[in-house]
């Protein structure tokens, strides 16, 4: 067992981990931040996406020890300071970009990373960027729409409701 310490959502945290403990496991089991989900064991599904030093990372691809000293952001730290939904979260609610909610934290974290590097992505750019995030409920339509809306684009011409 080894001691790790990192900043998570602005707070300094530390804990004991095994060498094989994944960052996703440390967040969920060590810190009880269960908003980061684990949907697969091959780093395909993207439910566990978090931000490490500002970059989107699948937290199942990284050992907790590798994040020692890092600045980590999770879904629990995304809302505005007053507790209201941030722009991306609000767009997901407004455009029904989630159903069961299991892939949602990863989607929101990926969307934030996308909009940081590409503030006005096209539909094709959003779809391509989301290749590492699997959703089984929504058929992606409303996720793509929500991300484009969150970027300030007019999505009223995109079909339905």
């Amino acid at each position: 067992m080894a001691q790790v310490s990192m900043t998570v959502n602005g707070k300094t945290v530390s804990g004991e981990v095994e060498g094989r403990t994944l960052l996703a496991e440390f967040l969920r089991e060590g810190l009880n931040l269960t908003g980061t989900h684990i949907g697969c064991d091959t780093s395909q599904c993207g439910a566990c996406v978090v931000h490490v030093n500002g970059e989107a990372v699948k937290s199942c691809t990284m050992f907790a020890m590798e994040a020692d000293g890092a600045d980590v952001g999770t879904i629990e730290g995304q809302a505005n300071a007053d507790g209201s939904l941030n722009v991306i979260q609000q767009a997901f609610q407004d455009h029904h970009g989630l159903q069961c909610g299991f892939c949602t934290p990863g989607m929101v974290m990926s969307a934030a990373a996308l909009l940081k590097e590409n503030p006005k992505p096209s539909e094709a750019e959003v779809r391509t960027y989301l290749e590492g995030n699997i959703c089984r409920c929504t058929g992606y339509h409303n996720i793509v729409k929500a991300i484009m809306a969150a970027s300030g684009q007019d999505v009223s011409a995109i079909a339905a409701e």
């Binding site: 091959t42 609610q93 029904h96």
Partner: protein, 788 residues
């Protein structure tokens, strides 16, 4: 103007807040004090005799608390099939025992034969590796034709791999055979409905807690129907009295059918929690999900369509082999029979229908209901053979369908497959669809594609489904071993807010938002003051849960009935308060008033009076304001629709791109159009996924080759287009109080044939004589088909 509240309003979902902020609580998010962890030992061969399991070394591993094997469960029951099917000769189906852990034999890769309980998951995992196990591998039987044709037996004791050989309707067989023999034109098609893995994004998980002081158990589990799970565990598997077992299905990350069923892992953690007197938790890995979640579809079918030269349908005749895998999952026998055969008349006035289904055991994971469950298989067969017939007859595929559609003045319509459709208007849907897809512009788009070296095809499809599965009296006659009603309790609290306890379970469908819209509309109060309670047998009335697009049609109707009882009682209380006759009381906008006067009391005042019954007519009215209703429908509901898509095929690579997809659905009345549209989107993605990319492949030894997301292709955002969806102007269901039909499965039912019809159209436009390609239409399959 769209409504901004109540029935018909596109209200955004209140449950989204917790999901968007990481505050959802899924089963694996729940950690109980002192919990231990279970990890299962699973067979790596598809068929084998368990010679020995030596647990000594595993028990000595650090942190290990207990090891269970099949031997520990020989005194308890097994996991049953929920539906008895009789074969054509009247013999009941073969029902092999499905134990908690494999005993004697393992029957598919992933079949669990032992479980280790340890202080940590890692310790349990390590100890599974230390089990000394000898399994003598036997030849496996994987494909259905071999299984029927004298291959290795999956279950020695039943002496056959055919579970049943079912005919529907057997009395129609001779007439259908005769009609086909004498028909001027018969189109024959053999097709495979590919096996799928449901792949809810949340893997299954179960945590059990046991209280030795009260002998009570609590099971937190990923279930679509906690009462059904409790009933199965109590009455069939472990014999725990129902009043000692609480089943909680908290937030559940998608189901699509795979979480209807009781699985052995649930029984194991309960038994382990009792033995160790501490909570025991198990969470599946994705690999375990691939190996052990009930799979879907997997039919091999020959269908014949007989028609007149002018295209008038005379008969459909179907022969199907349906894979049930190694054990009978709970709905596995109903899915290929009553959820499939009864839909084989489609949307058409065809007079003769006969369906034969042989259900076949193989050394593969169990197969059961997956989004649509039998109805996608029926629609795919019917709508593919109709398209093929249109080409053979030289008719327009839309015109051929229209020619045979049931017309609006023919309802109620007794279909040749034994159902009574209550309502619909298929021509109106097709009219709408042709406009949505811009059929008139297709020729120009095709020319443009051809200019770019691509082939463009237009595919259409019509579907009907039987949803809201019920009624109990009917399904009982047909072999169901459960009732198919649902239940709701409306509790008005003293301060005027409401808790509505429902038997349906929401795992993405938005019940927490949609159900309050119904109650709010009926009572004339704000939906925000109404909360839905679901997923906990200790809190809700006995309900049958969520599957088969039934939540609103069945449980929503129970909510209406319970709310009607609330209104009736509240009117009596109001009448007393207003010193009027209860027949004179009117409810509007949350106010009870005496007709023709300005005397009124608010809903909140009535609620308070019910719980503080001072000066109350206690001899006539009980205190309190809480009512329960059980609702058992008179019939299925019959959602229907017309779908169309355009695809582009790259003739150099065989790659298919879906350029546009339009869905015109009839779901009857709509409570929340935003949620309904989302349900259609999700179904479409699953259906397009089946058509283009998803496939479950076992090799000849029974190894699952597609057991991860690297090998099983899930549709991604860049595989799919924006969809056009329209469900306005539906024909209301005639027999439930909301006039609703159900929308959860439609997209997955209607889309696969639409895609295949479009690709065949594209290939034929390029001069390729391709009548059919089996799903999924991967580039290699399409390219190969183009080479002749």
């Amino acid at each position: 103007m769209p409504k901004d509240n109540g029935i018909g309003a596109a209200t955004t979902r209140r449950e989204d807040i917790r999901f968007l902020t990481g505050e959802g609580q899924y089963t694996d998010d729940i950690n109980l004090t002192g919990q231990a962890h279970a990890v299962f030992a699973r067979s790596d061969v598809a068929n084998g005799v368990i010679k020995s399991i030596d647990t000594t070394a595993a028990m000595d591993m650090p942190g290990v608390l207990a090891v269970f094997t099949g031997e520990d469960f020989t005194e308890v029951g097994g996991n049953p099939a929920g539906w008895l099917i009789n074969s054509r000769d009247g013999e009941p189906m073969k029902e092999p025992k499905r134990p908690v852990l494999a005993h004697g034999k393992v029957r598919h890769v992933g079949d669990a034969y032992a479980a280790v309980i340890a202080e940590t998951k890692q310790q349990a995992r390590d100890a599974v590796e230390a089990l000394e196990v000898e399994i003598e591998e036997l030849p496996a039987v994987i494909d259905m034709a071999s299984a029927i044709g004298g291959g290795e037996l999956v279950h020695d004791e039943i002496e056959t791999n055919v579970c049943f050989d079912w005919g529907w309707i057997e009395d129609n067989r001779a007439a259908t055979d005769e009609a086909i023999k004498n028909a001027p034109h018969v189109t024959t098609l053999e097709l495979v409905n590919n096996r799928l893995v449901p792949n809810a994004m949340e893997p299954r998980a179960s945590t059990a807690d046991y209280n030795p002081g009260t002998d009570e158990y609590t099971l937190y589990t990923t279930s679509q129907n906690p009462h059904l799970t409790r009933l199965l565990i109590s009455a069939f598997v472990l014999g725990i009295p129902e009043n000692k077992l609480r089943v909680v299905a908290p937030d559940v990350g998608g189901g699509f059918g795979s979480k209807i069923y009781h699985y052995g892992e649930e029984a194991l953690v309960l038994a382990a929690a009792k033995k160790l007197k501490r909570p025991v938790k198990w969470t599946a890995s994705r690999t375990e999900a691939f190996l052990t979640d009930a799979h879907g579809r997997d039919h091999v079918t020959k269908i014949e369509l007989a028609c007149e030269k002018d295209g008038t349908f005379i008969a459909f005749r179907t022969e199907t082999m349906a894979n049930v895998g190694a054990y009978l999952s709970n709905f596995s026998t109903a899915t290929p029979t009553f959820l499939h055969g009864t839909l084989m008349a489609g949307n058409y006035t065809v007079p003769n229908v006969y369906v034969n289904v042989k259900a076949v055991f193989t050394n593969t994971a169990p197969v059961d209901a997956y989004r649509g469950a039998g109805r996608p298989e029926a629609t795919y067969s019917i709508e593919r053979v109709i398209d093929m017939a249109a080409r053979e007859l030289g008719m327009d595929p839309i015109e051929l369908r229209r020619k045979n559609f049931i017309k609006p003045d023919q309802y109620p319509f007794a279909s040749a497959a034994g159902l009574e459709y209550d309502s619909g208007n298929y021509d109106a849907q097709m009219d709408k669809l042709e406009a949505m897809i811009d059929r008139d512009g297709f020729a120009a788009r095709r020319a443009e594609s051809e200019k770019n070296g691509k082939l463009r095809g237009l595919g259409v499809n019509a579907y009907i489904e039987a949803c809201g599965i019920a009624p109990s009296n009917l399904v009982g006659v047909l072999g169901s071993r459960v009732g198919l009603y649902d239940a709701a309790t409306v509790r008005v609290n003293a301060t005027g807010n409401l808790s509505v306890m429902v038997g349906a379970h929401s795992h993405g469908q938005g019940h927490e938002t949609a159900f309050p819209q119904v109650v709010a509309d009926m009572l004339g109060i704000e939906a925000e003051s109404i909360d839905i309670v679901h997923g906990d047998t200790a809190k809700i009335p006995f309900g049958m849960g969520t599957y088969g697009s039934r939540s609103l049609a069945v449980c929503g109707s129970a909510v209406v009935r319970a709310t009607e009882k609330i209104i009736a009682k509240a009117k009596k209380i109001a009448a007393h308060m207003l010193e009027a006759s209860d027949g004179d009381i009117e409810l509007k906008d949350g106010q009870f008033s005496v007709a023709g006067t300005d005397k009124s009391v608010s809903f909140g005042e009535v609620a308070l009076k019910a719980y503080i019954p001072h000066q109350f007519p206690i001899e006539d009215i009980e205190p309190g304001l809480e009512e329960t209703a059980f609702y058992d429908p008179a019939n299925f509901t019959y959602p229907s629709g017309a779908y169309a898509c355009e695809v582009e095929v790259d003739p150099q690579t065989g790659k298919v791109t879906v350029d546009r997809f339009a869905a015109a659905d009839d779901f009857g009345n709509i409570i929340n159009p935003m949620i309904v549209t989302g349900q259609v989107h999700g179904g479409l993605a699953q259906g397009i996924g089946q058509a283009l990319v998803e496939n479950t492949t076992y090799d000849e030894n029974g190894q699952l080759l597609s057991a991860s997301y690297m090998d099983y292709c899930m549709p991604r955002a860049d595989d799919l287009p924006f969809y056009q969806v329209d469900h306005s102007d539906g024909t209301p269901c005639t027999h439930n109080p909301l006039g609703v039909k159900g929308c959860g499965e439609a997209g997955a039912i209607g889309s696969p044939p639409t895609i295949i019809n479009a690709v065949v159209d594209a290939l034929q436009s390029g001069g390729h004589d391709v009548a059919h390609v089996d799903m999924p239409l991967t580039p290699s399959r399409v390219w190969t088909a183009m080479q002749g």
